[in-house]
């Protein structure tokens, strides 16, 4: 495989407005050479806008786009040397697969033998070496996206931009292609920005995940950190499932939740200003033990949802009737049939408080 460009990307203070709606507000993100950053957020959060600004497809914005130390804000899309894969199938319908992959080199006036050889090399990389002569409509959705990936990489782009490339695919192909993208990205080492609304996808593929909400980058950190140590309540609530448990602030560093003392983690929002709030605890941070119906953490099991290796258990707290979700290995969940009385224990080392 030919050596790819390894460049750094810095987006600084990007702001983009559509009419009255602010799509991006003071958006800053540094991507190290060869790193894969995933922007994660619900639709309309501005993640695609950020990617399109980096690609040069959206030019009406303020802020700086620095690629390898050079501001490219004024450079048109076709001069930025970006490889892009779109959510919609975007292969050129009148060209063969090989011609599609070679297209970027063709417009750069690379001679035919060279560009065809390079295109073939990329097709081999994405596992479609035999499909060069076919037309786009003769390929499945997953294959079309692989070709689009090969086309994006053929030009040895400065940055690879993936705009929800897996959204249109069915679940099985999506997982397969996701792993494939990660493998290829690691192999070629191209700096990559990946945009998705799928948390699992972002967590699985990215070196760092940037969580976005209402045009603001709330946190950008390795997937484990985003999940285990969310920067603030918004990130905590958006990423993964979360229970909100009534909590009482007993000291600047401790909370009392259903009679149990738990360490308080102070997020970006600062120390709590109220005496009570909602403690954010993940379903797998709660465990169950058989109980006798007394005590502040007493609950009744109301439902079990079997999810393969894990089972999601819904319990109703005896004291305040609130419903909590607990996630535990299915083998252990067999001990807790619906209707049984249990005690809920919190196993989190520290929790965030929503106040």
């Amino acid at each position: 495989m030919t050596e790819q460009n390894r460049v750094s990307v810095q987006l600084q203070g990007l702001r983009k407005v559509y009419g009255d709606a602010v799509a991006l507000e003071n958006f800053s993100l540094d991507i190290a050479p060869g790193e894969l950053v995933a922007l994660l957020g619900p639709s309309g959060c501005g993640k695609t806008t950020a990617l399109r600004i980096l690609a040069g497809l959206d030019t009406d914005h303020s802020g700086q786009i620095i690629i390898n130390g050079k501001d490219v804000a004024g450079t048109p899309a076709n001069k930025r040397n970006m490889g892009m894969v779109f959510q919609a199938y975007s292969l050129f319908p009148t060209m063969s697969v090989l011609e599609n992959v070679a297209y970027g080199l063709r417009v750069r006036k690379v001679d035919r033998a060279k560009r065809d050889a390079r295109a073939q090399e990329l097709l081999d990389l994405v596992g479609l070496g035999e499909m060069g002569k076919r037309l786009a409509h003769q390929l499945s959705g997953g294959q079309q996206q692989r070709v689009a990936l090969a086309r994006a990489l053929a030009i040895q782009p400065n940055v690879l931009l993936l705009d929800e490339p897996l959204s249109a695919l069915d679940a099985q192909v999506r997982t397969q292609l996701r792993d494939e993208i990660k493998r290829i990205q690691t192999e070629v080492g191209t700096t990559t920005l990946f945009v998705t609304h799928d948390q699992e996808e972002a967590m699985a593929i990215a070196d760092r995940v940037g969580v976005m909400r209402h045009g603001v980058l709330e946190q950008c950190a390795p997937p484990q950190e985003v999940y285990l140590n969310p920067a603030n309540v918004k990130v905590a609530k958006f990423v993964g499932a979360m229970n909100s448990l009534p909590a009482e602030v007993t000291s600047p560093t401790t909370l009392k939740i259903y009679g149990q003392s738990v360490n308080l983690r102070v997020g970006e929002g600062g120390a709590p200003t109220t005496k009570t709030g909602k403690a954010l605890v993940r379903p797998e941070q709660l465990t169950l033990s058989h109980g006798d119906g007394s005590g502040p953490a007493s609950a009744t099991i109301i439902n079990l949802t079997f999810l393969g290796p894990l089972t999601r258990i819904s319990v109703r707290m005896t004291g305040d009737s609130s419903v909590l979700f607990i996630s535990m290995p299915s083998a252990l969940a067999l001990d807790f049939p619906t209707g049984s009385t249990v005690n809920v224990e919190i196993r989190a080392t520290s929790v965030l408080l929503d106040f």
Binding site: Y89, S90, S96, I155
Partner: protein, 259 residues
């Protein structure tokens, strides 16, 4: 997806085809009559070729058609693409402008030429091409509009731009090949209109193939019909060549690419 035709579809198709085909067959049969209709032969066609001005005027009409076709391609394809990509607010207005030639009488155009066209343009027969572009606007615009509406234009353009292509390369390599049948349709309409247009040429005092036919056919009705049949067949041949040529060129290219 291919749909199976029902007998009723076939019947409708047959009726519509007959509507066009019978007059043509009748005209062809009529043009073959010699000896006051007592026998058939190609004398009327031979007569046409022997007339003075046949080649010259046919040549003029073909050149006009070619120029019109090129002008339509260069002017209309980028314009309609622009309207589809981001010129949304202009679309209504341009759509309206493109319909104007249908309601404005041709004589107004002819008069307008005298006041609006620069003199150097008025002194050449090729001024007709510019008018033909205008007169064919309702058809060419519609053909391209429908073609572009049927493809994911924005995605293709962005994919091409992101690959490093300029807008010109995107038009030539991606858009035009993708909407080739629509482009062919637009060009065909422009060519057919140029080859058959009579009123503007007469009003502006230029000799083209249609005006020449009108002139020489006065008093030679059988020959006139032969001429009409000839010009019709000629126009169809041009269109057939246009429709087939790019495809065969392309398939040769693909073979080269993949061999």
């Amino acid at each position: 997806m291919k749909r199976k035709l029902t007998p009723a579809n076939y019947l409708a198709l047959l009726a519509a085809t007959s509507f066009f085909v019978f007059p043509l067959i009748a005209a062809f049969e009529f043009s073959l009559r010699v000896n006051l209709g007592k026998s058939h032969g190609f004398d009327n066609f031979r007569w046409v070729f022997q007339q003075e001005g046949f080649k010259t005027n046919l040549g003029v009409s073909f050149r006009l058609a070619l120029l019109t076709a090129v002008a339509v391609l260069v002017l209309m394809v980028p314009t309609v693409v622009y309207l589809h990509l981001g010129g949304g607010r202009w679309k209504r207005m341009i759509e309206f402008i493109c319909l104007v030639p249908l309601v404005v009488p041709v004589i107004s155009f002819a008069l307008g030429v005298g006041t609006a066209f620069p003199v150097f343009l008025q002194s050449t027969v090729y001024e007709l091409s510019f008018l033909y572009v205008i007169v064919s606007l309702p058809y060419t615009y519609r053909a391209l509009d429908v073609g572009l509406s049927s493809i994911p234009l924005l995605t293709l353009v962005e994919a091409s731009r992101a690959s490093g292509a300029s807008m010109r390369q995107t038009l030539l390599f991606v858009i035009v090949p993708t909407i080739r049948s629509a482009v062919n349709g637009a060009v065909f309409l422009a060519i057919a209109l140029s080859l058959g247009e009579f009123t503007l040429a007469v009003l502006l005092h230029w000799d083209t193939f249609p005006t020449w036919i009108a002139n020489i056919s006065q008093g030679h009705i059988l020959n006139a019909i032969a001429l009409s049949v000839l010009s019709l067949v000629g126009a169809w041949l041009v269109v057939v060549v246009m429709a087939i040529a790019p495809k065969s060129l392309r398939s040769n290219k693909t073979q080269e690419a993949t061999s």
